[in-house]
Amino acid sequence: MKPTDDKNPEYFHKVVDCQYACPAHTPVPEYIRLIAAGKYTEAYMINWESNVFPGVLGRTCDRPCEPACRRGRIEEEPVAICRLKRVAADHKDDVRSLMPKVPFEKNGKRIALIGGGPASLTVARDLAPLGYEIHLYDEQFAGGGMMRTQIPSFRLPIGVLNEEVDYILDMDVHTHFNTYVSSLREILDKNYDAVFVGTGSPKGRDINIPGRKEAAENIHIGVDWLASVAFEHTHKIGRKVIVLGGGNTAMDCCRTSRRLGGEEVKVVVRSPFKEMKASPWEKEDAMHEDILIFDNHMPKEFIVENGKLKGMTFEKVHAVFNDKGKRSLVPTGEPEVFIEADDVLVAIGLENTFTWIEKDTGIAFDEWDMPVVDAVTFQSTNKTVFFGGDAAFGAKNVITAVAHGHQAAISINLYCREEDITKRPSPFTNLVSQKMGIHEWSYDSDVVNDLRFAVPHADKKATLADRKIEVELGFDIQTAIKEAHRCLNCDVQTVFEKDKCIECDACMDICPTSCITFTMNGEEEDLRTRLKAPALNITQDLYVSDTLPTKRVMVKDEDVCLHCGLCAERCPTSAWDMQQFLYKVTKAC
């Protein structure tokens, strides 16, 4: 193998698994350390800079970071990254004075944002401090988009959302609420310097099976129903409820039903339980609220008697995979299943709808009726129109929308300054030794054995009685600090300097997880088998040095490195050093 180029920041970035997995690349270990040190405000601001909605995301994020967490590979569970983020948000001081200042004098450029969700708000957050005049359009009476309409209050109290939306709207954003944009042409005619479309994927997919029309009164599209609940238009649901679908919307629907009078709430999903799209913790929370989940059931028919919905029939199926690994659901041949229901909520997917974008606006659409958008610049085929969030590439999640917003803001800023928008700014990086003394580090290098701490929940009886009572209580400070100590500080990198190495093998002997091997070089496939412990996880890189005097190379398997610093402590010549690596995605502001 060729020696690893550790001067390329992407190498060490990849070692910080959580940050690398995060669409917005939030410096996770950095803020976890601050939480452990009791610096909640600082931890919050690091989050805010990167993901704009720490309070919201600390409760509702899809957490791509957690499955990636190295801790999950050395013991059972990853660090509770998401809930630690919430701790920072819950315990911070007033942060208003720390927010970027918006100049009184504007720069003369006007930007329209269509849709008031996380993507648009992120663009506003990045561009307003640069002096842009921002116009935000949304059909609702307030900003937040699906964070307001889709996420129930028992998961996200409205106060938390309002606070974080207001930080942005307070940056002199001109809001046009209760304004449904029905024509892009009209917006373009207002001569904005750039237009950003962050309209999400607002339409719930319907189901077309016999009985749908007859029972229409008691069949609701999940997302519309959730919005209607959020806006206080809907207050009740039948005693027996079926929720169709296995994603997080389905979980929000069933749990909301339990709070609006649903006593026998059943989630019915086509796929096997394990393959449901909902996050595992959402499923757990639903089941905790006495909701039954029926997997492998394909909806067949709505049964209507005397013009009233009685229930639904289902065909039992099982998953079969073909040679290419593509799944198909095949009937098992068992008799059909009938489930009683007073109401049915359909939560089987989200769709984009761009009927409001006229053909002559110069925006090209692909075969799936999605706009053609550049994956890096987020520019559409109309140079002044940019897309982001679910509107760009289909339904994902809040943190992805935020990441899109940051990138689109960079493009818009470059575009308005008539610069090349394909020239992306490089990330801000920093690599600093943590050495304090011969055997002292400025980070907590010892690895605790604690297993993941559970977040306490409010009393079930109380939360089911009132949909506005938040279920999760968040970590108390004591537990939060303990949980924070579970973080392995993967951003404190093991940096190897070949020229200092005297090949005493001390690092290889001391490494608790047998990551380091000195051996003859070879091809990667071969090298991976010749290490002290075989490097079977090919998603994790090998850190390879140049050839040493004895013709060997140092090979470090990054997979289960604990970042405990013992290799560096055992190194008599400081060929190993623990250096903290900071990686920040550069933003427009």
Binding site: D446, I510, T513, R570
Partner: protein, 350 residues
């Protein structure tokens, strides 16, 4: 130093025949200086015992005093151990071995503990061919007392302060050969590929197995001018052959060219394989081994590898015809056969 080593281990650590990983052979975290050669030797002992699938509770590790003699704390944490008086490890080992012949005796000593204060004990344990492994972690200085020259420091070797050693060195391997040791090897802490098979062979050897391991003292004897520094040893090492230990079950697959290798059959059917052995070298020839050692020394080279072996050696138990079983397994009637037996015995002398 952070004297904390995480309990977490690599989830895919290979297991030996007993189902143990190397973790089961580790000891406490070392308190020696960072980069000490002794720690590498400890790691080699761990690796050798793991690879041979020796049950940790069947091993007794013994040592004297010194940096080297601290190391048994840092390996084989689940084995028996005895940290004896300075230079007196051989007598404790002899006593233990006489009482329980079934354990594996792993003696660890240093150049001071062996070549100075313990010299008297060392020569006699060789002479008696006690069944044990005797590893000297030889760094040529007294590291525990600020690095004064030891009896194995080479003449002309420079200390960290720049003073030159005016005295002749005691060559421990040469001495062992001279005294009739049945297994003599020499190695370097920075060469695990050579040292691990040597330790394995020493463990299998039925008799006194001596390995002199050059082990640089990073703090006091790793300076330019020292003849026991990492750089000097790497530059002046000359190996007798590439040593490989072939366990009983492993099929011999590779066929090497005639005249380049020798298989040494051990008493239990295992092999020590010496590859690329120089044609003039014969591991069974004590005289040749002594010669080779002297020639290398005159060329300022350090001869490493297996120097001499007597595969059919007879150990002390055999020589003095002791009980076939460990004393702790003998019943009272065997240990104290009674007045009648004594009378019979005495009658034999009349």
């Amino acid at each position: 130093m952070t004297y904390i080593r995480s309990q977490f281990r690599h989830p895919n650590l290979p297991k030996n025949d007993l189902g143990y990983t190397t973790t089961d052979y580790e000891g406490a975290i070392s308190t020696l200086c960072a980069g000490c050669g002794h720690d590498s030797i400890s790691a080699c002992i761990v690796e050798a015992c793991y690879e041979l699938s020796i049950a940790p509770h069947r091993i007794a590790k013994l040592s004297g005093i010194g940096c080297s003699s601290k190391t048994p704390t840092y390996f084989l944490g689940h084995s028996h151990g005895f940290n004896s008086v300075h230079g007196r490890m051989p007598s404790v080992a002899t006593g233990a071995n006489m009482a329980n012949r079934d354990l594996l005796y792993m003696g660890v000593s240093g150049d001071g503990d062996t070549a100075s204060i313990g010299m008297g004990q060392f020569v006699h344990v060789i002479r008696r061919n006690l069944n044990m492994v005797y590893i000297v972690m030889n760094n040529g200085c007294y590291g525990l007392t600020k690095g004064q020259d030891s009896a194995t420091a080479d003449e002309g070797s420079k200390s960290k302060k720049g003073t030159v050693n005016p005295f002749q060195a005691i060559d421990l391997a040469g001495l062992a050969l001279e005294l009739g040791a049945t297994f003599v090897a020499q190695s370097f802490s920075g060469d695990k590929e050579q040292l691990i098979p040597l330790i394995k062979a020493a463990i299998e050897h039925p008799g006194f197995a001596f390995i002199n391991v050059i082990s640089p003292c990073v703090t006091f004897n790793n300076n330019p001018g020292s003849t026991k520094s990492y750089d000097y040893v790497r530059e002046h090492m000359e190996a007798t052959a590439t040593t490989d230990f072939v366990p009983l079950k492993k099929e011999i697959k590779t066929n090497y060219e005639k005249g380049t290798g020798t298989d040494i059959k051990m008493h239990d059917g295992t092999f020590i394989r010496l590859e690329k052995l120089a044609s003039s070298r014969d591991p069974y020839d004590r005289l040749a081994a002594m010669n080779a050692l002297l020639i290398s020394r005159s060329k300022n080279e350090i001869l490493t590898g297996l120097l001499y072996i007597e595969p059919q050696s007879t150990d002390l138990h055999h020589t003095i015809q002791t009980s076939d079983r460990p004393l702790n397994s003998l019943e009272q009637y065997e240990l104290c056969p009674g007045a009648m037996a004594l009378a019979d015995f005495n009658r034999g002398f009349r």
